[in-house]
């Protein structure tokens, strides 16, 4: 298990909003919605699209792929709507003062 790593400052990501960050050679989309923080692999499991370019829905909370509209649960990464059927990977997030930290889920 990797350690938590600082990836952004709190004021860098509006609410609702998202930010693409790089953690150990992995692209992760950091999501800020309704006062909470989430992190997912920046990949739509339908066709590999970049979730970080898609809109965040704070009511879900969820994020949608800009290519075909597949929605993913921001907390768990579960695929909520077609055309995606498989979950994307969700990572743990902590806020420490003005820093946001992410711990990557194990690969696989």
């Amino acid at each position: 298990m990797t350690d938590f790593q600082p990836v952004a400052r709190v004021d860098e990501v509006p609410d609702p909003g998202s930010l693409l960050v790089e953690v150990d050679d992995r692209l992760v989309v950091l999501i800020h919605a309704a006062g909470h923080w989430y992190a997912l692999d920046d990949v739509c499991t339908h066709d590999g699209g970049p979730l970080s370019d898609g809109p965040v829905d704070p009511a879900g909370p969820s994020i949608a792929c800009p290519r075909h509209g597949a929605k993913f649960d921001a907390k768990t990464g579960a695929a909520l709507t077609m055309p995606a059927t498989k979950a994307t990977v969700a990572h743990e997030v902590q806020v420490d003062g003005d820093r946001v930290l992410v711990r990557l889920a194990p690969a696989g």
Partner: protein
């Protein structure tokens, strides 16, 4: 008071000028490089909005991490070659981090007018012979940013020129090697004049299996009328290498090309492989063998372009994927209006050895003639558990059973490869990589 001369690093106008100044090249070559650099500056980095790059994510690639070929590390040992093991070759050439290291050619072939060795070294001496082929720009330097960068900075690589009606019986061998964190901008140019025949075994390798680096290369194959070329290209870089390549063949009237690619290494590979059948009755057979593991991403765009009538092309790509690796194959058969009586086929088979691997297979046809036979096929599937169970009841271990099934999967493409050492090398390399099937 002391002074120091700073060498520009990275890919900038200054480093380009510095690179150019250090080369001993004819003016026409420098002009081609300048035009390509201009194009590089104009072109944007490929975007995931482009259809061709939609499935290949290069956002983690940092061009500024790498130096130009002129500034690259020059020390290091050449890794062993796989394709030439046990083969008596007629000549060999090798480069390390895009700089020529060694070249040799048998006296007999040299006496017949064959040129083989480093393009860097042969171009100044044989510019009169090679210039028309270099200037043909088989690979378009304006195709994308990587093509332009390569055309501006190519360095090292190999050239094979076989004069009219000369038959080279012994294979020739070329190795492009890279140290960890190095760069490789090699260019391969093969010219077979009318009625000539040759076999070239070409491979890439890193100093160690996990090594990183940046390859930005090109391959240009020119097969003139009635010539026959067998060309093998094995990509076996270390697992951290970014590999960007443009490869194209021109096959003229009644000429034949057998082109085999093996793709085993690299962290990410994005390759455009293009065969243009430019003269009547030309034929091309293209064989692809891919094995991926870890988090590798190999993306191949293949293009069979029928420009003339009565030509045949036959492409077979087979991929086995392990772990979380991914392959993308986009194949296109393009038939021009003039290319009546075309016979073209393309097929891509994928064997999924893990739940988390992924293969995107996208065949395509674009046909403007009305009297053609063009077909394509694509398959993806997992290993049948019954086959593993059956093999284990006959005394094989699970791993042996999986190896056997993977070998059987590739047999169809191995049967098409007419060079025994290539079949053996690919079979061994794949066998070493197969572990087990993960659930």
């Amino acid at each position: 008071m002391s002074s120091t001369t700073l060498t520009p690093v990275g890919f900038s106008r200054e480093s380009f000028e510095s690179f150019l100044a250090a080369r001993d090249e004819p003016g026409w070559m420098s002009d081609l490089r300048r035009a390509a650099w201009q194009r590089f500056e104009e072109l944007p980095m490929p975007s995931r909005n482009d259809e061709e790059w939609m499935r290949t994510d290069i956002r983690l690639f940092r061009l500024d991490k790498y130096s130009t070929p002129g500034d690259a590390e020059q020390s290091g040992q050449l890794p062993p070659a796989l394709l030439s093991a046990g083969v008596e070759v007629g000549g060999r050439t090798a480069s390390l981090n895009s700089r020529p290291v060694e070249s040799s050619l048998s006296d007999e072939l040299a006496g017949q007018g064959v040129l083989f060795g480093s393009l860097d070294e042969l171009l100044p001496e044989h510019g009169d012979v090679l210039r028309p082929y270099v200037e043909r720009r088989v690979v378009d330097p304006g195709y994308d940013k990587f093509a332009a960068l390569h055309a501006a900075f190519w360095s090292g690589g190999s050239v094979l020129f076989v004069p009219k009606k000369v038959r080279v019986e012994q294979p020739l061998h070329a190795l492009a090697a890279m140290t960890d964190g190095g760069v490789d901008f090699t260019k391969t140019l093969v010219v077979l004049e009318q009625g000539a025949e040759a076999t070239l075994l070409s491979e890439t390798a890193s100093s160690d299996p996990a090594a990183g680096g940046f390859h930005c290369g090109s391959i240009e194959l020119i097969v003139e009328p009635e010539a026959r070329l067998r060309y093998v290209n094995l990509q076996n870089w270390g697992g951290g290498v970014w590999h960007f390549a443009h490869q194209k063949a021109h096959v003229a009237s009644r000429a034949g090309l057998q082109w085999t690619i093996g793709a085993l290494g690299a962290r990410l590979a994005k390759v455009n492989q293009h065969v243009a059948l430019t003269g009547q009755d030309a034929e091309a057979q293209v064989n692809g063998v891919m094995f991926t593991h870890g988090k590798q991403h190999l993306s191949y765009n293949t293009h069979q372009h029928h420009e003339a009538a009565h030509c045949r092309s036959d492409l077979l790509y087979k991929a086995a994927l392990q772990d979380q690796s991914r392959t993308v194959w986009r194949g296109m058969i393009k038939v021009d209006e003039a290319a009546q009586r075309t016979d073209a086929y393309q097929r891509n088979d994928n064997l999924m050895l893990s739940q988390a691997s992924r293969a995107d297979s996208i065949p395509g046809l674009e046909i403007e003639a009305d009297d053609v036979r063009c077909t394509h096929g694509s398959t993806a599937g997992r290993v049948d558990d019954n086959q593993i169970f059956y093999a284990m009841t006959r005394g094989y271990t699970r791993t042996e059973a999986v190896r056997m099934i993977v070998a059987g999967f590739f047999q169809q493409v191995f049967d098409r490869i007419t060079i025994e050492s290539v079949r053996d090398a690919l079979g061994r390399a794949i066998g070493d990589r197969v572990r087990d099937i993960s659930e």
